[in-house]
């Protein structure tokens, strides 16, 4: 910056708000004595039209090239005064404000002392203003196409809400079918429909919406760029069966391979060539490449010739302005032996129970364990939640209580004689209608046993014993039952870390994805352009997941509607002539905005302007001073500091 700074200082009375405790005259006189101050003026309301005109005229008259306004908090009128100096032909970032109302006149009583504070604040502002530089606001055009990862309820809701607003999007699902976990639940609480049907209505809508391009059996494998201009690489695994398939079912019959059916949470088996479930979308079978031996039986029996064992996977690059993460959760998987899990068919998880109670499930809704229907059942609650065991998560998984209660009632409906124990640490029926479920179970004589020390499950050939200290009765109980249901909670989805690594976003202490702000920005990731739906951020029930999906769609739509993102130019930048590529800054950035790029054979840090959010943490860490933040450069802040007293600031 070659030109000699000519600073104009404009002190506002704000009616009496400032003038009553700050001697404005004195302050203005003092301001005139400061180095590089070309002129200082006062006015009763600087923000008023005449006040702003005063500034504009003065900028021209005294050809000022820096402006200090001493008035209210920048939060109030920085924009106003920036606009007025722009009209006067100056760059908006050549303005510095001294907050002498909120942080001075309003909080001080003694006029003399308040006046001293005002003088100091103005001296410091002038010191910084001298070194201000013109900055150009950055704008990035936004590609109005979205990328939604995860085809569960949250992802589907997010996709539909966006598509219905007229935006195009890619819906990417890792599994061969849409629907997520909800599609594998039986009858849902409060509404008398099965999970598969609930999800089915969404998948059908998505499938028939021309704005939505569905990629099942697919994963995001690479991501470049930033908000507005992401470039995503989507890899689709081979399905080995194409749409010519008529679902005659011959191939299932002849396939010699049987493996546990993950869509039934392992309570039944499926073949190597299979249709995940009746309502699966797309309604095309798929071959499990791990299980398949390539024996070719299916090819032989396939009339339409829809099976291709040598099919290859495909990769496609898509441009996206925003990304919504709806990659869901995993049911908590108890370690073998925990509460007898996997040691006996009499011990099953809540999700497995859902399958057994589903009319379309393997048993047609019959509750049969090893051929017989249990006459007594114990639900152990909070399995994998509330820190009940060493491996358990510290948090509450929110959905397991209501879901357990619902299932208890289903069992009571179907097998009224069944004796049911609810062994719980805490019952949290916070959702609408859930409390009624709780009361109904009481009416239906479900026996509640509360524990602090998690119960012990002893397996016997004919029955299961549960040892537990009941904190209500305050005595040890031995409860013999025929079967045990483990009300397992929710864990972060298995490939969460893989996804996070690709989209470069942080995780919460629980291992879910961290929100930009827990309360105020719950469906946004810290990095711009990354949105969050469903249980990627924390355990959620279906209602909450759907809400989050809709909310995230609204956020994406807002971004798209603006057509471009404006970036405050107070971002960080590394001076290549000084940067040695020491890499200290990279770990400082919560947004992954800094990378080391080879320049010639040497390395230097490079900041992605669109990713930088201007916190300046990398600048404070930069050991060489190569990294600087526009508007908050070391020399600018140091000048402000040096002006603390007149010793050096004068």
């Amino acid at each position: 910056m070659t030109e000699e700074p000519r600073v104009g200082v404009f002190v506002c009375h704000c009616g009496m708000n400032i003038a009553s405790t700050v001697d404005v005259k004195k302050v203005v006189e003092y301001a005139r004595t400061l180095p590089n101050v070309a002129d200082a003026k006062e006015y009763v309301f600087m923000c008023s039209a005449p006040g702003q005109d005063l500034i504009k005229e003065d900028v021209k008259k005294c050809n000022l090239n820096r402006v200090v306004v001493a008035a209210c908090s920048p939060g109030m009128h920085e924009a106003t005064f920036r606009a007025s100096i722009v009209e006067a032909g100056l760059n908006p970032y050549l303005l510095e404000m001294a907050n002498i109302r909120e942080q001075c006149s309003w909080v001080q009583l003694d006029k003399q002392k308040a006046t001293e504070v005002a003088k100091d604040l103005i001296r410091m502002a002038v010191a910084k203003a001298r070194l201000l530089e013109p900055l150009e606001e950055l704008r990035v055009g936004v590609e109005p196409t979205s990328l939604v990862l995860g085809g569960g309820v949250a992802g589907l809701r997010a996709s539909l809400d966006l598509a219905e607003r007229g935006y195009k999007l890619h819906l990417v699902e890792k599994l061969p079918t849409l629907g997520g976990k909800a599609a594998r639940l039986g009858k849902l609480a409060h509404v008398d429909i099965r999970g598969a049907d609930l999800v089915g209505s969404l998948t059908r809508a998505a499938a028939s919406n021309s704005n939505i391009r569905i990629h099942v059996n697919s994963e995001l494998v690479d991501l470049e760029g930033s908000v507005g201009t992401f470039k995503a690489k989507i890899r689709t695994a081979p399905r080995f069966v194409d749409e010519k398939c008529t679902l005659c079912g011959e191939c299932f019959r002849v396939c010699p391979i049987e493996v546990p059916n993950e869509y039934e949470f392992g309570v039944s088996k499926r073949k190597a060539i299979y249709l995940p479930f009746k309502e699966a979308y797309p309604p095309i079978p798929v071959i499990d490449p791990e299980a398949c031996t390539r024996c070719g039986e299916c090819v032989k029996v396939c009339e339409p010739g829809a099976v291709f064992l040598d099919q290859k996977g495909t990769e496609v690059d898509v441009a996206a302005g925003a990304i919504t993460l709806a990659t869901g959760f995993e049911p908590y998987e108890p370690p073998e032996g925990e509460y007898g899990y996997k040691r006996s068919e009499k011990v099953l998880t809540l999700f497995q129970l859902e399958r057994l109670l589903d009319e379309d499930g393997p048993t047609g809704g019959e509750l049969k364990l090893g051929g017989s229907t249990p006459r007594s059942l114990a639900f152990i609650m909070c399995v994998g939640s509330l820190g009940t065991t060493e491996k358990a998560h510290p948090y509450c998984s929110r959905m397991c209580c209501a879901s357990s209660l619902k299932n208890m009632l289903r069992i009571k409906d179907r097998y009224p004689e069944t004796e049911i124990y609810a062994i719980y640490k805490d019952i949290r029926t916070y959702g609408r209608g859930d409390e009624e479920l709780y009361e109904k179970t009481a009416e239906r004589l479900v026996k509640y046993v509360r524990f602090e020390e998690s119960p012990k499950v002893n397996l016997h050939s004919d029955k299961v014993d549960i040892e537990v200290y009941d904190t209500t009765l305050q005595e040890d109980l031995l409860i013999p039952v025929d079967a045990v249901v483990l009300a397992v909670g929710m864990s972060p989805s298995a490939d969460m870390d893989k996804v996070r690594a690709i989209v470069k976003t942080g995780c919460s202490p629980e291992g879910f994805i961290r929100e930009a702000h827990l309360k105020l920005r719950p469906v946004e990731a810290p990095a711009d352009g990354i949105f969050l739906a469903g249980s990627v951020t924390s355990p959620k029930n279906i209602v909450e997941s759907v809400m989050a999906g809709g909310a995230s769609a609204a956020k994406v739509a807002t971004l798209f509607a603006n057509k471009e993102v404006r970036i405050e130019p107070i971002i960080a930048e590394a001076t290549e002539e000084i940067c040695s590529g020491c890499a200290i800054c990279i770990a400082m950035c919560p947004y992954g905005a800094i990378t080391r790029k080879e320049k010639g054979e040497k390395m230097v840090a490079k900041v992605d302007k669109a990713l930088c959010k201007a916190c300046g943490t990398c600048v404070a860490a930069c050991p060489s001073g190569a990294m600087q933040q526009s508007g908050f450069k070391d020399i600018q802040v140091m000048a402000q500091v040096a002006a603390l007293t007149e010793r050096r600031g004068g």
């Binding site: 020491c582 990279i586 390395m603 860490a621 050991p623």
Partner: protein
């Protein structure tokens, strides 16, 4: 035409800077052919008065090493400033006080009582200490005054250029001399002869760094046998290379020892120790106070570590000294 005149002078230094110039070896002869060395205490001699006699600004460039410790130094550097067109702070001591600047953590009294009384081998029943002036068989013997603090020369006179290093390597010295003789010089106050970037730029281990440089522990050199193929900092050793000006070609790191910062700060850094501490603290990969403090406990002497060569030039200049009010 007349050859440029060069002067070299030493204040409170160890002689290493002189050795460094002697290590120019045969290049010294080149130097003498390019310039007249008008003043070089190790080589030639002038008495103060003789310098006085020189016309002001008649010396093309004075290279001064060592910090200002005694009253004579103060006087002499002021004199040289007057007589020289260009004054160069040569070496860590004159640029930032260097290792002897660490004495600024203590007062003169503490120094004298330690050296002349407390040290166990001292046999000093009458508690004698050296005197500024003392009569011994009616002759007055004088000793020069020790300043309350050691000062980098730019706290006493204006300095035009800096040549960093403890000591500057022959390569750096020669580059600086060439710059001075070529006359094509950077803006006043610049460092000459060394790199514009920090040591990492020329360190063979820089590319071995992972994307994110973070540490869970600080290790002092005697506590770890480092993998010579990996960046020392990423192994938890306090290598100050990232904060230190390059130019030495990473001599210490090549000897598997961390950089201790003898080439000092880069242009935009005003307080080397604070900056070095800032980057080190920043990469301590913990978020709870207790774990952070645990890591800091591993480094009992941060001041001596981060200010090894620059304490006298730091914002505080040493242990805070209050104005007598």
């Amino acid at each position: 035409m007349e050859k440029p005149k060069i002067a070299m002078y030493w204040c409170a230094s160890c002689g290493g800077c002189e050795e460094a110039t002697v290590d120019l070896a045969e290049k010294i002869l080149d130097l003498t052919s390019l310039a007249d060395i008008v003043f070089w205490p190790v080589a030639l001699d002038f008495k103060e008065e003789d310098v006085e006699k020189l016309p002001d600004g008649s010396i093309t460039a004075s290279l001064i090493n060592g910090g200002v410790r005694m009253t004579e130094h103060e006087h002499m550097v002021k004199l040289l400033r007057k007589k020289s067109k260009i004054v160069v702070a040569y070496g860590a001591c004159s640029a930032w006080g260097g290792v002897p600047g660490l004495l600024n953590l203590y007062g003169e009294e503490e120094l004298f009582s330690r050296v002349y009384r407390e040290i166990p081998t001292v046999e000093n029943p009458e508690k004698v200490t050296p005197q500024r002036s003392i009569k011994v068989d009616d002759v007055e013997l004088k000793l020069p005054d020790v300043l309350p603090r050691l000062l980098p020369i730019d706290r006493v006179i204006e300095v035009d250029y800096y040549v960093p290093g403890c000591p500057p390597t022959p390569e750096v010295t020669w580059k600086a001399v060439e710059a001075l003789l070529s006359g094509t010089l950077p803006p006043k106050g610049s460092v000459i002869g060394a790199s514009e970037k920090s040591l990492c730029d020329e360190c063979p281990l820089n590319e071995t760094k992972p994307d994110k440089v973070l540490i869970q522990d600080l290790k002092r050199p005697h506590q770890v046998i480092p993998d010579p193929e990996k960046c020392l900092l990423t192994q938890g050793m306090l290598c100050l290379g990232p904060a230190t000006r390059g130019g030495c070609q990473a001599l210490c790191v090549k000897a598997r020892m961390p950089c201790t910062g003898c080439f000092g700060p880069l242009d935009r850094v005003t307080d080397y120790g604070a900056k070095a501490a800032s980057f080190v603290a920043s990469i301590v990969d913990f978020q709870d106070e207790e774990s952070i403090e645990k890591v800091m406990d591993r480094l009992p002497d941060p001041v001596g570590t981060f200010y090894r060569y620059t304490l006298a030039s730091s914002s505080l200049g040493g242990r805070a000294r209050r104005n007598k009010t």
